[in-house]
Amino acid sequence: MATTHAPATTPTTLELDYTPQTAPPVVDVDGPPKVHYLNHSFGWLSWLLTVDHKRIGILYLIPLTIFFMCGGIAAGLVRLNLIQPYGAILELDQYNKAFTAHGTIMLFLFLIPVIPGVLGNFFVPMMIGAKDMAFPKLNLASWYVWMGGAMFFIAALLFGGLDTGWTFYPPYSSKYSHTNVIWAGLGVFITGFSSILTGLNIIATVHKMRAPGMTWGRLPLFVWAMYATSVIQILATPVLAMAVCLLATERIFGVGIFDPSLGGDPLLFQHLFWYYSHPAVYIMILPGMGVINEVITCFSRKNIFGYKAVAWSSVGIAVVGFLVWGHHMFLSGQGVYLGMVFSVLTMLVAIPSAVKVFNWTATFYGGQITFEAPMLFTIGFIVLFTIGGLTGLFLGILGTDIHLHDTYFVIAHFHFTMVGGMMFAWQAGLHFYWPKMTGKMYSDFWSRLAAVIMLVGFSLTFLPQFVAGYHGLPRRYPYYPVEFQMMNILSTAGATIQGFGYLMPAVYLPLSLFFGRNAGANPWRATGLEWQTPSPPTMHNFEELPIVTHGPYEYALPSKFTLEDGHAHETKGGNGGH
């Protein structure tokens, strides 16, 4: 395959750089720079007052990991409780609080900020050849706002808890809740504000900070995805903020906007909530999709198949994602005809997602695929996300959703997209960029093993839930009929395996900081601008303003030595086999 990349006129002596990267090069020729962003200053204050986008990325990484563990513990409690039909360990209200804590922490404090906060902050400026975000101080402020909101939220969960489910539906959250709805709502409001500010910053950065020659057609697809995500963040989040404001008003003053007994309408809350929260599921998946593009091209040593289609599908998802929120309300009493419209529109939103999946698989085709840990996670992502997306269509069809709504089928659907999708993409991104962020390489063996364990654990957890849900097991109930016990036990066993899987990177990644070998500037021999900086990068990323002359995934270009001969200009980094 490989030799067909170059044009027919290429002399056979031309040395092409198609070296498969089964193992990263052992020797680091350049060595890490003496002064880089991690060691140019020391002390707590140098971190807490930094406006460097790279350090802010690291600032996000640490609390995010902790929140993920908190959410994981809550999930563990829920799963443990479900091994017996009448509950194994938790009281009824404790069960409500546990699944609410799990859902809210994982969504608001982990999945939404994780990739934008860490990888977005760190790599968007580097990928477009900028020295920093457009508004560095705002970026730091956004981190503080987020931390403040998160602390608030965690405090609300710890002292009194929250039992409404992550959806905050009234009247569960107004009349019938005696828990910290207002405080938790305020926490959501504040973290939402941070999400808006980060999105604003990324949009302004992408528009105004690109290096010379970095045209829209040369933007890495991760940047396109982050851009689309940010658009959703700034358009949708304010409406959620407003919804929780109104909810808080209703609770504080005891008046009815959502309470039907006072003339209000609970569906009004659902409309405002899902206006945000359906697009928000794309806030949770688009950054992951962005990472997948970078990893797939690198480990297939190929240009992405259909750059434009993939780039515009991100924007398409961002736009069409706003037209479908009613599919969460089919059975809530919303107008039937409106439900039909939403059902049809929901079919539309699957198209851009499918475009991406097809383009990724086409990118594999003819590539020189190697299976490092990031690639294993990516393959896991594609398989699991496809299942998640397709089951979404079952749910989006008005008729089938009547059977499946509020069952474990929905749970399985969104865990396939959010855990199988975003969580795997996050792992892929973390493993892909870890050497760039820290300058150290982690254990090849353990990382691959972790990927496999997570995949096995994940499938064991959530595949049975499709079956259970299809047979009618409702979500959020603490008790269930005995015939579902087998399924629940399988799920809990899978969750345990998954838990081990997630603990492994938490061990070998930090260990690599001390024992890992130097990764070198470009361990994966990737082509993006971010890899042309030393690892870890220096303070201002680029010593001089980079000038961009070609697209982001020119893996098929001859190596730079041959480029200097002036022979290979015509290759446009074609798409592998013809």
């Binding site: 508004f135 528009h207 304010p238 407003m242 005891g254 008046v255 003339g263 201002h540």
Partner: protein, 269 residues
């Protein structure tokens, strides 16, 4: 290519921050950043106005009555105050652009004064509503009523409903007519209008306070000569975008909250 215009401004800060290549890039980013922020603001107010619209579709009568009970005169004065402040801040941009320090301070200060007077009137208006007891809440009381057969009964209604009835009956003839056509249930539900009234105007007031804080800060900056390099007029411009937006919200609140009912000039004087 990228001209590094690291000219030193007044004070120690360079005019062009380290991560920008030139002043044009910086100005464009700042301006664009504010526009994007205003998009989120539009959707923020859009959310509550959408809820307002949904509720008004269900309860047109209650919204009419609620709006009738409000004070349209203060709101009208406030409209003009806010429009004038939009005008003065536009003049402030021009002064900053031309490097007229005194003009800049004058127009910033007038904007602040106009905004503060607006808030003063607003406070007066809230106080009036409070005096009239137009505060929604769960407190109940008993009133005389008749049941379906015409037999007199005692009926539990919200304190708010009683106050509303009182306010409408003493306002003017039209308001009294509206009130007479209402059932107690409807009077109770008029609280919903007031929830919207307080929350939307409250949010608007919060935006005004934030804006005034920023304006005061800019006035101080103008005082110490921060805007001496005229390139920095862009910060005044961006501030004005925010301020105009606050004005824009008010322009829509005025018909939706205050003018949704029946007002007549009778009660004016």
């Amino acid at each position: 290519m990228a001209t590094n215009a690291h000219a030193e401004g007044e004070g120690r800060q360079p005019i062009v921050a380290h991560h920008f290549n030139n002043i044009r890039q910086q100005q464009a980013s700042v301006r664009f950043g504010m526009w994007v922020f205003l998009v989120t603001e539009v959707l923020f107010f859009g959310g509550v106005l959408c809820a307002y619209a949904a509720c008004r579709i269900w309860y047109p009568k209650e919204f009419e009555a609620g709006s009738t009970a409000l004070n349209p005169f203060i709101a009208s004065i406030n409209t003009f105050l806010l429009l004038s402040s939009s005008f003065t801040i536009t003049l402030a941009i021009r002064a900053a652009y031309k490097g007229q320090r005194d003009g800049l301070r004058l127009w910033l200060a007038s904007t602040i004064v106009l905004g503060t007077v607006f808030l003063g009137f607003k406070a007066k208006e809230y106080y009036g509503d409070y005096e009239e007891g137009l505060i929604p809440g769960p407190q109940k009381t008993l009133v005389d009523d008749v049941d379906a057969t015409g037999k007199p009964v005692l009926r539990e209604v919200s304190v708010f409903a009683v106050n509303l009835k009182h306010v409408l009956e003493h306002k003017n003839a039209k308001a009294k007519a509206i009130s007479d056509k209402m059932t107690w249930n409807e009077r109770d539900r008029t609280q919903m209008f007031f929830v919207f009234y307080y929350s939307i105007t409250g949010l608007h007031v919060i935006h005004m306070i934030v804006g005034l804080g920023l304006l005061v800060w800019q006035l101080i900056l103008a005082q110490i000569g921060f805007f001496e390099p005229t390139e920095r007029h862009v910060y005044i411009e961006v501030m004005s975008l925010y301020w105009h937006f606050v004005d824009l919200v008010w322009i829509f609140l005025f018909p939706l909250l205050y003018m949704a009912g029946h007002h007549s000039m009778d009660g004016a004087f």
